[in-house]
Symmetry: C2
Subunit: 244 residues, 2 copies
């Protein structure tokens, strides 16, 4: 049986999604608990990696099991065994050819900022700080340039091995609430660090460190140095993965 699970986790507690030697990953933590519960070695495949410190409101992952434990019993049983920084929030059955990564059609990321001269202790693991002054309208105008199908090579951390750096950004929305700014990005896929570089680029636009022309240039040339800096993991949330 192939199951797809939805997982929420607090990024601060883990060294990212993917299992690596000598650090605690979300994937490994889930595999250990699922293996203990289902009494067989379980391997899970996520919709993609998240870096150390990045949060997930709804990461998706699939695994196969021969266990006859009723599906709806699994989340509750697993959650009582998991550390409080991870929870399975949903489960569904999938066909044997379903794949959490390759079957994904769209992903949504949320990024949380706050604008303040002083760093905020309460928000240091959940938001990223922007120092004032900031022109919010300039951020919104810059976001419009990035929406659509583009070669996002300039918005990708170097060293990443992908066949193509072209991606479609369906939506890149920004809104304000009090001293906070939220950015939501929905696309057919995201390159390594792409959302964090978009976050940094929009902040640089809002601080007049990058003009609209600079951002167009970044898209055209694919030059990483022409985009903004990679903003912190602490503000980033994987919000949704859609399959069709």
């Amino acid at each position: 049986m192939r199951y797809l699970i939805t997982v929420e986790y607090f990024g601060k507690a883990f060294n990212g999604w993917q299992t690596q030697k000598e650090v605690i990953s979300v994937q490994q933590t889930l595999e250990e608990v699922l293996s203990a519960l289902l009494r067989e070695k379980i391997s899970i495949t996520g919709s993609g990696r998240t870096d150390a410190g990045v949060h997930a409101l709804a990461q998706k992952a699939h695994f196969d099991t021969n266990s006859t434990i009723p599906m709806n019993k699994i989340p509750l049983a697993v959650n009582t065994m998991l550390p409080e920084d991870i929870r399975i929030t949903g489960i569904e059955e999938k066909a044997a050819d379903f794949h959490a990564q390759y079957s994904a059609k769209r992903k949504t990321y949320l990024y949380k900022f706050y604008v303040s001269r002083t760093s905020s202790p309460i928000r240091r693991h959940t938001h990223a700080q922007i120092l004032p002054p900031l022109d919010f309208k300039k951020m919104k105008d810059a976001a419009k340039i990035l929406v659509g199908a583009h070669d996002f090579k300039a918005f990708c951390a170097s060293g990443s091995l992908v066949k193509t750096t072209t991606r479609t950004l369906y939506r890149l929305e920004l809104w304000q609430q009090g001293d906070e700014i939220f950015m939501e990005a929905e696309g057919n896929g995201f390159l390594y660090n792409m959302v964090r570089i978009i976050a940094g680029t929009l902040v640089y636009a809002g601080k007049s460190k990058l003009s609209e022309e600079d951002i167009r240039q970044a898209l055209e040339t694919g030059d990483r140095k022409k985009a903004g800096k990679t903003f912190p993991a602490s503000g980033l949330y994987l919000k949704d993965v859609v399959y069709e």
Copy 2:
């Protein structure tokens, strides 16, 4: 010179505001850094204690110093020396007879809940969970009963030594946003654990574990057992202290 500082802190990182032996308090952390910067022994007096895990958006505290360092230089200098879980966000000069606790006229607390069957890893240090079902209107109706001048003895942790348990609650507001509920309480003073017991009482009302009549009885009899349980520190924020 007497100064009043505004302090934000992330409650999870400390064993409360007040200095105690062998645990790290906010007060002690601030005193050590201020003493080092101002080169004299500094004692600070807060507007009141906050328990372990309780956050402060704007705690207030006063201290005296003979230092000639310009007032406006103090927050930035102190903040670079403080752990990231505390920040001084404001400073002002006060008369010698001003007192952070006794001169306080009103305080505002904020409490953050979320309603979900599964506990939320991302919100575990910043909110308290309410299990569904919940009738939000019943919570709001219960809140109305508590507004005004009352003997809040039933809403006070036992063992607290105060002259009178009568307090005036000027405002007790509730609002929803997505799966979250916010409660804001403004009063002329609060008893030990009072906001957390009010939070628990309103949740019990929303879950029909307490009727409006039960809550009136709690106020009339002063019987702690007639109010709801003390809700977790993680959801509580000291939001403002007003002086006149």
